[in-house]
């Protein structure tokens, strides 16, 4: 179950390059490739830099003129898609945080 406290990192088998304002992702495991648009690229860079989903959500609100709820929803939707394509590793930290 994804939550703002879930720890998400780029999959080590995925390489990325910036093209214009977008990012192209390549899965070395499957050779499939993907593009992330400007805001998706923003999120990917934040994931690379180790920001938590909560922090990324706040940064999206600062960067784009969106409500916190919408930023969080968009972020979680993207992470679900990335996870489904095995482009990120998802580790649930909810338990650790509550302890």
């Amino acid at each position: 179950m994804l939550s703002p406290l879930t720890h998400v990192t780029p999959h080590p088998q995925v390489v990325a390059t910036a093209v214009r304002r977008e990012i192209v992702l390549l899965s070395m495991a499957t050779s499939d490739y993907y593009t992330l648009n400007e805001s998706g690229a923003h999120i990917w860079r934040d994931l690379q830099e180790g920001f938590s989903l909560l922090e990324i959500s706040h940064r999206l609100v600062d960067q784009y003129d969106v409500s916190p709820a919408r930023a969080q929803q968009s972020l979680l939707n993207l992470i679900r898609m990335l996870a489904a394509e095995q482009l990120v590793l998802v580790k649930d930290n909810t338990e650790e945080e509550s302890n």
Binding site: V19, R20, V24, L26, Y33, Y34, M81
Partner: protein
């Protein structure tokens, strides 16, 4: 936010033929095919420019879908479709793009980004392995250019990975690369070609996208334009960051000279417009820091000046590359004429060299500007010195029967030159292209 662009990964389309099999360009400049090629070629050059001229912008606005398709086909065949997409977008010319063409260009752009990502992954593994074996390495050509002088790696197509290592470590480098699974198509001793070639035979790996060429110098040894001192390249080489890989690259001035050499002396302009785009990018990135006089002196000292002048002249004229006029004037070689530029134009807009054979002598004779010049050359080829005749025919140089062999020589010349002459006089475009190609080759190698 995310789009799955392509289901499976496929290498970029190899240079498809711009001209279909059997289709030829007419030598008559007034014919429709020739005019269409020149128009599309001119549009491609305009579309690739950093800053298109106002009249070019107007031309793009008037293109039909069929025109765009032809332009896309030419750009694709020359390996320039991602760069064209980028330039059109940056310069606002994409507003006129039909949706289908835009989609194709965009897909090609993303595909190339992914392809090059994979290729840099392979380069990273090679760099690590050579580093561990303590073998210094300079990354040459595409892999150097794509990550340094282009705005992003998607904009430069690559067909292989070119590395240079010190000649004494060539065998060790070969073994390291072989250890990563790259193998020659035919077994060969790694050092065998050192006296004749500037790199080992290309090595391939089944699961890799591309081949690897291990160089030990950048010019064919034994040629008049051979590199005098490869150590100078190593001394001037600079650290470069290539898509996250720490490596060494040629000094920008050496990079520029190498690109000119490679496009002209090595590939005789058959690589199309891509080398000019590379040169344009290199000059725009590093040109302000160039010591143009030193570049000219180095080009002349190594007998690369014809190729260097030709490429930089074309880059300046077609792409407005900021090459100083004084530099071009200083290194302008003898025999540089507008006709040569026209020949170069025809080659650079073709994706493959014309097929067939025309001798260098014949093309040289045909390209003599006057009929008198042609006749003079023919007579010179006919009435060879007696000693040369004695080497070519079974007759002694002082034999009284030697004159008979001048008649045999005439028959031989007619057999050799008669057929291409008829085709040239008949306006056969393929033969005209071959003649241009040979003429240019001859001039470059003189």
């Amino acid at each position: 936010l995310i789009e799955r662009v392509w289901q499976t990964f496929t290498p970029p389309k190899s240079y498809a033929a711009f001209l279909k099999q059997g289709e030829t360009l007419s030598a008559d400049p007034q014919t429709e095919a020739q005019m269409q090629m020149e128009r599309v070629g001119r549009l491609l050059v305009a579309g690739l420019r950093d800053e298109p001229a106002a009249e070019d912008v107007a031309d793009f606005a008037q293109l039909t879908t069929a025109d765009w398709s032809t332009l896309l086909a030419l750009a694709t065949s020359l390996g320039l479709d991602p760069l064209l997409y980028d330039r059109l977008t940056v310069n606002g010319l994409n507003l006129h793009l039909p949706c289908s063409i835009r989609s194709q260009l965009q897909a090609s752009y993303y595909r190339q980004a992914a392809y090059n990502l994979r290729l840099y992954g392979e380069l990273g593994a090679l760099a690590d392995a050579l580093h561990q074996a303590k073998i210094p390495m300079i990354v040459l050509k595409g892999a150097h250019l794509a990550a340094t002088v282009y705005p992003d790696i998607a904009l430069r197509k690559m067909v292989d990975i070119d590395l240079m290592v010190p000649e004494p470590q060539l065998t060790a480098a070969f073994e390291v690369v072989q250890g990563l699974g790259y193998l020659p198509l035919e077994p060969s001793a790694p050092t065998a070609p050192v006296t004749t070639l500037h790199h080992l035979p290309r090595l391939f790996k089944a699961e890799a996208l591309t081949g690897v060429e291990i160089h030990w110098t950048i010019a064919h040894p034994g040629k008049p334009y051979a590199l005098a001192n490869v150590e100078d390249l190593w001394r001037r080489a600079q650290p470069v960051q290539l898509a996250g890989i720490q490596a060494m690259g040629l000094h920008p001035a050496d990079l520029l000279l190498h690109l000119c050499l490679h496009a002209t002396h090595h590939h005789r302009l058959v690589q199309g417009l891509r080398p000019l785009c590379d040169i344009d990018r290199v000059v725009r990135c590093y040109g302000e820091g160039f010591d143009w006089q030193a570049i000219g002196e180095r080009a002349q000292a190594q007998k690369w000046d014809k190729g260097v002048h030709l490429m930089l002249y074309l880059a300046q004229r077609w792409f407005n590359t900021p090459v100083p006029e004084s530099f071009l004037q200083a290194i302008q070689p003898a025999g540089f004429t507008p006709q040569r530029i026209e020949s170069a134009l025809r080659y650079m807009l073709l994706d493959r060299p014309p097929e067939g054979e025309i001798s260098g002598e014949f093309s040289h004779m045909w390209r003599q500007s006057s009929l008198g010049g042609k006749v003079k050359m023919l007579l010179k080829r006919w009435f060879l010195p007696r000693t040369t005749m004695a080497e070519m025919y079974p007759v002694a140089a002082d034999s009284p029967w030697l004159w008979i062999y001048y008649l045999v020589r005439l028959k031989d010349l007619l057999l050799r030159y008669g057929h291409p002459t008829r085709r040239l006089l008949g306006g056969d475009a393929q033969t005209h292209l071959l003649t241009d190609q040979q003429s240019l080759r001859r001039w470059l190698s003189e």
